[in-house]
Symmetry: C2
Subunit: 352 residues, 2 copies
DNA sequence: TTGTACGCGTTATCAG
DNA sequence: CTGATAACGCGTACAA
């Protein structure tokens, strides 16, 4: 096991600026200037240095640079989403935005283990990261991370935080659900039900309210008995259909809280001989390709543009590193993705 | 945008060892000794230093330490799996193993973009990572990563590499499929078909051969016409059932190349009135919870123990960092997960 | 028991 | 145009 006390094993040391200087017969200062294009140098010396550097495979040591610049050009990403299906696109977006600024990302998956999270934060702080992005589950608002007095910008992306002053990015669940409602209404559906996840999720409440707003904006009554909350599973979508058909036979559309639920709903409907979308139109939420595309018929659904959210998080982090202060929640638009479960082929639109 | 030329913004600098020394009225050497428990110090000075260090929130700068030790205590993880559903558990395992050694992980997702990968590798090398783990898709054997002469240990985990001398970890697909075959045979099935993914995948060929070995070991004939290769999708599972029933009505079991395929197969069977597992037993591959558990009936399947594979990769990387050399492929065992799609002794169930 | 000085690899400043 | 030198923050011999 490697421990901090072990010496580095004998391995060819990477070439240093000194090696290059020595080989090229100049001083280290000259090498630095030649390679970084600073100061006034004769073209031939610059070229000579360049070639010997290349020959030796010289690569400046970022550790030394960081020590000097007081900037490590790294950020820490703390993820509390074990499952990762939402974190991945967010992460991709973050990386996308950050690699343009040549910043690397430390990944820390602290799955709801406070001790582990503490250790990760300590480690990141010791590594002098330029910033920390927290991403994770959205069940309950998590407590803001404890920097222990350190002064490092922290941004929450796709994570619910208790601190209202903390800067954080979330998808516009309200607008997304509203979009789904508008789509159904535009297709002539009037008796719309809502099968969704556990009420304790802020996202569930937001989506419910967004859908409600769309209906009421078009003079459609909002009825509590058409809203069914359960778990985030296919099985719940299945079960909900039974309840729904018994309670409200006249339903002509169901807006679902997730694609998984929608899939359960569609399957249950088909087994009962109810045609989708002819009899009942279905709209999902998440645009989780693997589910949405495999459903028969493929799901029209709402995409949260998580990669874009991640990219935005990266950009904002860069701004924060440069000293910009930010606070409070920012909601980013969702997008309608039309497939076949609502029976219309129309172009996607973007919310707010 | 942050660029290397920008100065660090004015932010309270983290306390240095000098600050602590100054505040405690001792020298930096004394502080170092007190905090690291080295040398001979009076108990009260050590204590005094400790408290002032805590008061100032002093945290040793890993950058400076790394420079000195010539070990950064970081590794790079290059992932080429865009969707991440396989990478995530591997990553978790790697982190698990590495955090015990206090090593942090740089994440680089280079989705099949060679230029981007180059840039990532350069960046990792500049940051003087102690090692690099490559994980990713298993379509075609990828070319070994180019270190450009640098001498850093590289390990491939759950990634197909062209270089036979490169150290890499893979799940034992052959053994896993064999396990699936044994299970079906043990349940009395004798007419077993195989619906799987594209033949160009090494995993597909391995699994096919593993299944074949199990059948032949029990004196069951292996028939080419019972093997159907297609895509990795539910839709293909669906389509395959049509072909299979037309061609071979006597089938009493189907071993599938993935859970997605298995799900398509199960759905198609149910829609045709074929009972699972009563008429036909189904076994999947991957144990992708979200699919396997939601299938009706839930899928008996093969788990590749990817988190364990990740942990193993982490351990081996630690050994490589300490100078151990390693080469060639190592296959790690798979595991049978019994649910209901084979009607195993424990969880018998009547499907409609 | 404690302080001093050097080196890790860079960059920037100031002489030459 | 180029070379020497001082930082950056830390650990550690060695001197006091």
């Amino acid at each position: 096991m490697a421990s901090p006390d072990d010496p580095a094993p004998t391995r060819p040391r990477p070439a240093t600026i000194w090696d290059v200087a020595h080989a090229a017969g100049v001083s280290v200062g000259t090498v630095s200037k030649a390679l970084n294009g600073r100061g006034q140098l004769r073209a031939e010396t610059r070229e000579a240095v360049r070639t010997t550097a290349a020959r030796l495979g010289f690569r400046p040591n970022d550790l030394a640079q960081s020590l000097l610049r007081k900037r490590s050009f790294t950020i820490g990403l703390i993820s509390t989403d074990r499952y990762g299906r939402f974190s991945i696109p967010v992460l991709e977006g973050i990386e996308d935005a950050l690699e343009a600024a040549r910043i690397s990302v430390f990944l820390c998956s602290a799955s709801d283990d406070p001790a582990r999270e503490r250790q990760h934060i300590d480690s990141l702080l010791a590594k002098r990261v330029d910033g920390i992005i927290v991403t994770g589950r959205r069940t309950d608002a998590r407590t803001a991370i404890d920097l222990g007095g350190a002064s490092v910008p922290v941004l929450y992306a796709f994570a619910q935080v208790a601190d209202p002053a903390a800067p954080y990015l979330l998808p516009d669940d309200f607008g997304g659900a509203s979009l789904a409602g508008e789509h159904l209404i535009g297709l002539g559906r009037t008796c719309i039900a809502h099968v969704t996840g556990p009420e304790r999720f802020e996202a569930v409440r937001q989506r419910r309210d967004g859908l409600r707003q769309a209906l009421e904006a078009h003079g459609l009554a909002w009825r509590r008995e058409r809203v069914l909350s359960g778990s985030w599973s296919e099985a719940w979508g299945h079960a909900a259909v039974t309840k729904l058909l018994a309670r409200r036979p006249g339903i002509d559309a169901i807006a679902c809280g997730s694609d998984q639920i929608a899939r359960g709903v569609v399957d249950a409907l088909r087994e009962r001989g109810v045609r989708v979308p002819d009899d009942v139109a279905i709209v999902g939420f998440d645009n989780w390709e693997i589910i949405a595309a495999a459903t028969r018929p493929p799901l029209t659904t709402i995409d949260m543009n998580l990669k874009h959210l991640g990219r935005e998080a990266g950009m904002r982090m860069l701004a924060m590193i440069d000293g910009d202060i930010a606070a409070g929640v920012v909601r980013l638009g969702c997008q309608l993705v039309v497939r076949e479960s609502c029976g219309a082929a129309r172009a996607g639109r973007v919310a707010s």
